[in-house]
């Protein structure tokens, strides 16, 4: 046991604790490239699919959908494998990045199940599936915004608003939700990627 620190020493130690806690909390690599490239895919895919649907070209519309999902999955797998081979962010808060991964997988999983079940039981018709995915993305973005960074929260609100408009104007849902979902994932995703690069370049704690 020891003597009491002075007021200046106590204040210095409190500042030090705050600094360490802050530094520990914010070191997260959320693998945001997934959000960026899936955002880019839906940004193009949904409006194109909507345009093809309005022209009655169902075959090409399905082909675009299958191709988009395949491309997205391929990019996710390849980039994730590449990332696993590179050194991870030093001192990373893996608890938070794991939570983000769980939120993403749970949301995408629920969306996939709903996309399969809903049209077959007449709950949501096939052409309205993009709106369903917009609601899934909105929910995911809001949750990411709550646990990670505000930019995702704002994106989630925008995507949700777009989904509501798409419910009102279902014939043009792809034109409405595609850009909202795309930009709603790309913008916060790029911000998160830039943040990771800054953290990687940050000098070690003194």
């Amino acid at each position: 046991m020891s003597t009491e620190p002075s007021a200046a020493e106590a204040a210095r130690d409190l500042d030090f604790i705050r600094d360490v806690v802050d530094r520990t909390d914010r070191r997260v690599d959320p693998h945001a490239f997934h959000y960026v490239h899936w955002g880019a895919i839906v940004l193009l895919w949904y409006p194109i699919a909507n345009w093809l649907a309005l022209r009655g070209e169902i075959g090409p519309m399905i082909a675009v959908g299958v191709g988009s999902v395949a491309l997205g999955m391929l990019l996710s797998i390849v980039r994730e494998i590449r990332l696993q081979k590179s050194p991870r962010l030093e001192g990373e808060n893996t608890f938070l990045s794991n939570q983000m991964m769980l939120v993403t997988f749970a949301s995408i999983g629920a969306g996939a199940v709903l996309s399969g079940v809903s049209p077959n039981f007449g709950f949501i018709e096939g052409p309205n599936i993009p709106t369903l995915w917009a609601l899934v993305y909105a929910n995911m973005a809001v949750m990411l915004g709550i646990i990670y960074r505000r930019a995702f929260l704002y994106a989630g609100i925008v995507i949700f608003a777009a989904a509501i408009i798409a419910i009102i104007v279902p014939a043009y849902n792809g034109f409405i939700v595609g850009p909202a979902m795309g930009l709603g994932m790309i913008v916060p995703g790029l911000q998160a990627e830039r943040r990771v690069k800054e953290l990687q370049a940050e000098p070690r704690a003194a």
Binding site: S2, A7, G91
Partner: protein
């Protein structure tokens, strides 16, 4: 003179050990490399301070091999958490009284 009749915990008067416990308060656990990176410590320095915290029963240190590489994981124990919270309160009391 001890503050509020409670003696200060000399283990946590070291800023390095205070830093280690602060990191472990924020996370469930942290690897040796995480602590080194977050606190900017050398391997030897970190090892010495961790040993003191481990001997006092404040942290647990578990060594294992993951993919043939040694991995040391540190966790804060209940005694360490209690000591940190008491120390934090004492620091806040001193800082408050000074203002």
């Amino acid at each position: 003179m001890p503050h509020n009749n409670a003696p200060f915990d000399s283990l946590l008067l070291s800023q390095v050990r205070l830093g280690i416990v602060s990191v472990l308060m924020t996370r469930r656990d942290a690897t040796f490399s995480d602590l080194k990176a977050l606190l900017g410590l050398t391997q030897g320095n970190l090892g010495i301070h961790l040993r003191k915290l481990e001997d006092a029963g404040y942290v647990s240190v578990r060594k294992a091999f993951v993919e043939r590489k040694p991995k040391t994981t540190c966790k804060l124990l209940a005694k360490g958490r209690k000591a940190f919270l008491a120390h934090l309160k004492q620091l806040e009391d001193i800082a408050r009284e000074a203002t």
